[in-house]
């Protein structure tokens, strides 16, 4: 008597396509997935607990290490939360500068997503092309704050320093070049039949399920929900800028791909508007040297990180260290969608889907 049995394989934590140290336990029927179980925690560094033992100002560098592909977004959420806790109003110039940097970070982060997603699906050249452009983003960040990956580019109450001389011109040059580069990527991927076969109809998730799983960011917008923190709870001066929020119609991997490509263009649009209308004035609000929010004060602040809603919940106990810091990471919630997304697909699709939900393990494990 012959019988078939399910095969259980471990993907990760050391695996070329799991974007870090994600471990997936796959149960396979042939090549078809019966069940995916993500196992996380390999990169847990206890950032939340660590933050409780640091002064408010010293936590910002720690947030860099959450989502190391979009460190600025994490800085932004944390600093915003502290400002909310203290009731500090950020000067308009600093707000606009933050928007410029945040959108530049979104471009950089989407580029690294494109690179790795392409590589997962087997297109290896796109990896280096996207990294080339990302390199330029990093150069800009280096010029601004001195670091290329873990920026620590924000201070409570504003931004630490002005854009250096010639920086905005360099940024403009980069933005001028960006559309042609994106067009190149699109020639390589968007229309390519293999790419479309690999992404269309893969990992379809409808809006209800996506909302139910707590997905945010492009992963949710792919299913047609236009939830974007920049639109629904505008922070900084996002309400001043005109931009589109691309949403998908089918909710498959291809939609999520198209959305991120479009978001890069929209980020470019926002930066150009922000540079155009960069107000003058101070860049750092007055904040007491020793930050001691009132006892029992709480703040919850959300930003739209490149991966989705990144928010920080802070509780103060009246000392100069936070009583509780909680990071609501988009990656963690998006990863939650992976088992649902990949049910019934094939092994190769899991890889595409990990890329498609765009997780960073530092952010998942915290």
């Amino acid at each position: 008597m012959y019988q078939t049995s399910e095969l259980e394989i471990n993907m990760g934590p050391q695996h070329p396509a799991t974007h870090g140290v994600l471990r997936l336990v796959l149960r396979l029927d042939g090549e078809t997935i019966v069940e995916v179980k993500p196992v996380i925690g390999y990169l847990h560094r206890g950032v939340e607990k660590l933050s409780e033992n640091r002064g408010y100002r010293s936590v910002t560098p720690l947030t860099d290490r959450l989502d190391y592909c979009a460190a600025f977004a994490e800085n932004h959420s944390y600093v915003g939360a502290v400002e909310k806790l203290l009731g500090v109003e950020v000067p308009p110039r600093a707000q606009a500068m933050r928007v410029v940097l945040a959108e530049l970070q979104r471009i950089a982060s989407h580029l690294i997503w494109l690179a790795t997603h392409g590589l997962d699906i087997g297109a290896m050249t796109i990896f280096l092309y996207a990294f080339r452009e990302r390199e330029k983003c990093l150069d800009l960040f280096e010029g601004y704050c001195g670091a290329r990956l873990t920026y620590n580019a924000l201070r409570i109450g504003g931004v630490p320093q002005e854009f250096p001389d010639g920086w905005t011109e360099a940024l403009r040059r980069f933005l001028d070049e960006l559309p042609t580069r994106i067009a190149q990527y699109e020639t390589l991927l968007t229309g390519n039949r293999i790419w479309r076969l690999r992404t269309e109809g893969v990992g379809v998730i409808d809006a209800r399920t996506a909302l139910g799983l707590g997905l945010t960011g492009p992963t949710l917008r792919g299913s047609g929900v236009d939830y974007d923190v920049r639109k629904y709870a505008p922070y900084e001066n996002y309400r001043d800028y005109a931009f589109d929020i691309p949403v998908g119609s089918k909710g498959d991997t291809y939609d999520r791909y198209l959305i991120r490509m479009e978001e890069m263009r929209q980020s470019r649009r926002i930066i150009l508007q922000a540079l155009e209308a960069l107000p003058d004035g101070p860049i750092l609000a007055k904040v007491a040297g020793r930050i001691r929010p009132p006892k029992g004060a709480e703040a919850y602040f959300m930003t739209e990180s490149p991966r989705g809603e990144m928010s920080v919940y802070l509780v103060s106990d009246g000392t100069d260290k936070p009583y509780r810091v909680r990071f609501r990471s988009p990656c963690f919630n998006n990863l939650q969608g992976l088992p649902t997304l990949s049910k019934g697909h094939m092994v190769a699709d899991v890889v595409a889907l990990i890329g498609s939900i765009d997780i960073v393990l530092g952010c998942v494990d915290r």
């Binding site: 560098p61 860099d64 390199e135 150069d139 020639t187 047609g224 639109k231 800028y241 931009f243 939609d255």
Partner: protein, 175 residues
């Protein structure tokens, strides 16, 4: 509500059969790589690291170091311990002694654990010495060494720094 609009992103139509048959979009993709090939031959984007180095931006944050007073050549640090306090990785340790001039204090030993330092730059920002900060973010970033104790930089290293790498001759792309 901001001016952001939600736009449903159009999905490209399926390829017409003749395009499919003649592999049109495939050939377009191949032309992109070919273009890069013809150019990449001469102008690669990468930098051959040990021989070429990218120039660092003036604001580049390398490992923190100490410096003297630019005019008097005295030690700048007055042991206010602001850097020690703000450092998120708790990697600064200062032992103090009274200043020989009788006024104030100065560090007898100043240790920065480079293994733990995350180059965040907060110490340099917090430093309260006059006229410039005593601790500053240097441009050192190559610290390979044998043995961990070598990374506990003390005053000698903090003042003199590490042997400077040979000057970079590479050009920075996009700059």
């Amino acid at each position: 509500m901001s001016e952001a609009r939600a736009v449903v992103i159009p999905r490209p139509a399926p390829l017409p059969w003749w395009k499919r048959f003649f592999l049109v979009e495939m050939l377009q993709g191949m032309s992109v790589t070919m273009k890069h090939y013809l150019r990449g031959w001469r102008e690669p984007f990468t930098v051959q690291y040990p021989e070429e180095r990218l120039p660092l931006d003036p604001r580049f944050r390398g490992y923190p170091r100490l410096r003297m007073h630019p005019e008097t050549g005295d030690e700048l640090c007055n042991v206010c311990r602001q850097c020690e306090k703000i450092c998120p990785t708790l990697c600064i340790a200062i032992e103090e002694e009274p200043h020989p001039s009788g006024k104030g204090r100065r560090p007898r030993q100043f240790t920065v654990d480079y293994e733990r330092c995350c180059q965040c730059g907060l110490c340099a920002e917090a430093c309260g010495s006059d006229p410039i900060s005593a601790i500053y973010m240097s441009h050192d970033y190559e610290l390979a060494d044998y043995g961990r104790d070598r990374f506990r930089a003390q005053k000698d290293r903090l003042y003199l720094g590490f042997p400077a790498p040979p000057a970079g001759k590479g050009k920075a792309p996009g700059k």
